[in-house]
Amino acid sequence: MHRTGELSGQFQTLEQQKESATLGMWIFLSTEILFFGGLFLTYTINRHTYADVFSFSSRTIKLSWGAINTVVLIGSSLTMAMSVWAAEVGKKKLVTFFLIATLLLGTVFLGVKGVEYHDKFVEHHVPGLNFDMYYCTNNPGACSLSPEDLAKEKVELDELTKKMGGETAVNANSQLFFSLYFGMTGLHALHMIIGAGLLLWLIKQSIAGRFTPQYNTPVENVGLYWHFVDIVWIYLFPLLYLIDRH
């Protein structure tokens, strides 16, 4: 087939063959756009309906982790683009180098996500498991918040409880936020893991010197996938982490 960059029977030119591969990836990405789009839509509608609860819940997430992750992921997109460039100019060692760099950055991202999820478990923000928005303010010292932050949160939480008409309402509606949080970031993380697997496959091939200026379609297409996953995160980050940060 086109594993060696040769023309397969069904194509007229090499360019057509390459284009069809890219096209296939874009069609797949279109389905992914719809996939994530549905979740973003759910988020939008619920955020509009429960603006206060979402605003409060978003502020309980540590911003620094999200910001670090954004930088890491954009960096990994950069290294991915560099590896595509390196393949196009024929610098084989650089291809491997940048692919490994992308993989490393992706793993850092996943590691930070793991830390964040652990924090959520500790703070009892996991819907269906031990969810209780009042856990941190009722048990000072259980969550890693400074006393002033804790006091601020208590004040806001009390206001919110009054507005929503009771603790049950606050818990019920903030569970919505966290369900969406875990759902969307979890789906995104799953795509990152798949991307990491793809990168490993690419690295194995590039060490064997497979990619030349004539044949670098896999690198380019995995690059497309990786950039897409990056774009999803670029939208996820402000929507989940940056609601009404003062």
Binding site: E19, T22, L23, W26, I27, L29, S30, I33, L34, G37, G38, L41, T44, I45, L63, A67, T70, V71, I74, G75, S77, L78, A81, M82, V84, W85, E220, G223, L224, H227, D230, I231, I234, Y235, P238, L242, I243, D244, R245, H246
Partner: protein, 82 residues
């Protein structure tokens, strides 16, 4: 080309570094994100064929249809008006 990417990414990182009170800032960040999206298009779809560009546009256009139809459904429910 690579420098362009680097500077764009650097600008994005700087914007991520400060947060203030206005929702407009959030909208700005999202707008920057869209700019990055365009840049990534520069990397790929810009150098692609018209067919590729069509598929890319079609994907987002379909999403736009889905979003606008669903949101207008919700907007016209008027549940809070008695």
């Amino acid at each position: 080309m690579i420098l362009t990417i680097t500077t764009v990414y650097a600008a994005t990182v700087d914007l991520n570094a400060y947060f203030h009170s206005l929702n407009i800032i959030v909208a700005l960040v999202i707008a920057t994100c869209k700019a990055i999206l365009v840049i990534l298009f520069f990397m790929h779809a810009y150098y692609g064929s018209k067919r590729t560009k069509l598929i890319v546009f079609a994907g987002f256009f379909w999403l736009a249809i889905m979003l606008s139809l669903t949101l207008s459904d919700y907007a016209s429910r008027h549940l809070d008006v008695r």
